[in-house]
Symmetry: C2
Subunit: 345 residues, 2 copies
């Protein structure tokens, strides 16, 4: 019999404004033996993502809110360590699931959207939480379908060194864009953006007038803006779009912790004059693109055209800290929490 | 020889904030005899439209700015009273053109985008400046193509009794929408909106909290919002959209006379969560739909499904007053200026 102890992070209280450590609590549970069709999975990595902030509020959205006193959920990768009778996974299988924010869990497959991982050689399984997972797929669907990217489009990407942004930049270059510019919050991140192929990078914390910096970076205007940030970035992008430009609205991290409702861009009128399309999306509505995404990513990785950064915090107890760090830009690339060994059996 | 005197309205100074009578001046000119390929047209009606406010500023946009000291231009309908050798129009032809803001002009056809009008029986030629012209075509392209209207969509229309809005409302009903709600600025306008088939009408000046009024009018949310106004209307619409809803951005009259840049909606984040599409457009990019538009409008007019209102000011000297009145909501339906007789020959 395997070890059935697991520690998990629960929502202790709903955050008001910036999320704080005291909104979380750590708890230990003893899992039951897996029953019919069930497996016990020991997680290796879990992900923290900005969208989880929305689920901490008690409101209707595209995913239901987290409940106080219950463990949070989210993406995770791990390994099956014990299998009940008739389970569709076997001991030793690597799996991705929605059983994050805990060290281990017992579940059947569909319950937590578990899927077997066949790791790409030389690529760690945690990549299924980043470039090969939901964030990568978000970049792919957002740029190519929502943003209707064409090779002649120049592309501006905010939060460009992040889990989604870096993939957007590299897809745009791989697909032939002549001008890709990313924004990030440190010179180190900006230097790395140029290493992975960006034609220019804007440090939004030190550039002064963001609108002027974007104008300078795009003398011929922006074809597609991939928005992860909202706020001032969105206004600067709107102010520099080309006619018929598209704005793929993936997220607005700048306002996830706002207590009041921050006003929108002052230049909305440009949407009319320039015939712009501002389109929001949720990646779960675009999973029909998954086979294309996995095929293209494998090709780009093999060709050295797809790189990413990871920031890894060790231990389930550090998951709240990792999550809070997202909103302070403390991650460089995908923010992950290591909660167990890559190989648990 | 016909009378070749004409009075015209010139831009005297660029407006700063709300446009004023002193930004215009009236001048009298004597036109030359029409030369090779030219005709002399005596206008019957000219149109004043909100978009002209943008052309009074010295800035790049989708149409070049008006020049100080020169006559303004815009849509007009009139009749050919004198034709030079080889002209493609003959004396007596009714024509629409971009030769507005004057009583008469001499031009060849293409120069002012002149087109012969074949009036629909019982429908005045001034309709080619309204429901049968650019505003009607704007409604048609904006709702059906830009807004991707489907019969199952509920539709919210701002400035709904205006030249564009009233046509949008009636197209939506004619095409099968179960719920069309318009907003307007008086009880009289709202009563008329119900007469032409709107399921409900909101008087935005007296309704109090606009967001709450829109929420009440759309318990199941909005499928398509046709925006003529921007500002508070746009925020209220965003706050009540259905998932995958579309916002056709036709204009934002609320801010055309603003001296500072008014902030945008505070609820932009809903664009992401609800997978909304906010799309701006300029009617001139959609004139491939003109034959469909004319065919459908003729059908709807014959079936009594298409009605509109006109507010007519008499005399070219009142054109500035008519234009300024647009921004005060002094028009009920299409705002027109009568500058000559329907039949000049």
């Amino acid at each position: 019999m395997s070890n059935r102890k697991s520690r998990e992070i629960r929502l202790k209280s709903r955050p008001n404004g910036m999320v704080k450590p005291e909104n979380f609590e750590l708890a230990e549970v003893t899992l039951p033996a897996p029953g019919d069709g069930q497996v016990l999975v020991r997680n290796a990595y879990m992900t923290v993502d900005p969208y989880m902030r929305g689920r901490m509020m008690d409101r209707q959205s595209y995913v239901p809110p987290f409940q106080i006193g219950e463990a949070l959920t989210g993406g995770a990768v791990g390994q099956v360590v014990e299998a009940g009778p008739g389970a569709q996974f076997k001991v030793g299988d690597h799996v991705q699931s929605f059983g994050g924010w805990r060290e281990a869990f017992v579940a059947n497959g569909p319950e937590l959207m578990m899927q077997k991982i066949d790791p790409i050689p030389g690529v760690g399984i945690q990549s299924y939480l980043g470039s090969l997972g939901m964030p990568g797929m978000t970049a792919y669907a957002g740029l190519l379908r929502v943003g209707e990217f064409k090779p002649e489009d120049s592309v501006f990407v905010s939060a460009a060194s992040g889990a989604v942004g870096a993939v957007v930049c590299q897809i745009a270059k791989a697909k032939g864009s002549k001008r890709v510019v990313g924004s990030a919050g440190s010179d180190e991140k900006c230097a790395w953006l140029k290493e992975i192929g960006c034609d220019e990078a804007i440090n939004y914390k030190t550039c002064g007038d963001l609108n002027a910096a974007v104008a300078k970076a795009f003398p011929d205007g922006i074809g597609v803006y991939f928005d992860n940030v909202g706020g001032a970035h969105l206004e600067a992008a709107l102010g520099n779009m080309r006619q018929f430009g598209r704005l793929a609205e993936c997220g607005m991290i700048e306002q996830y912790n706002a207590t009041d409702m921050p006003p929108g861009p002052r230049n909305m009128i440009l949407i009319v004059g320039l015939s712009l399309t501002v389109r929001g999306f949720i990646v779960s509505n675009h999973y029909d693109m998954l086979p294309d995404f996995m095929r293209d990513m494998a090709t780009w990785i093999a060709a050295g055209k797809m790189k990413w950064k990871e920031t890894i915090y060790d231990g389930i107890e550090r998951a709240p800290e990792a999550f809070i760090g997202l909103f302070r830009g403390e991650n460089f690339g995908k923010m992950l929490v290591r909660v167990g060994p890559d190989k648990a059996v």
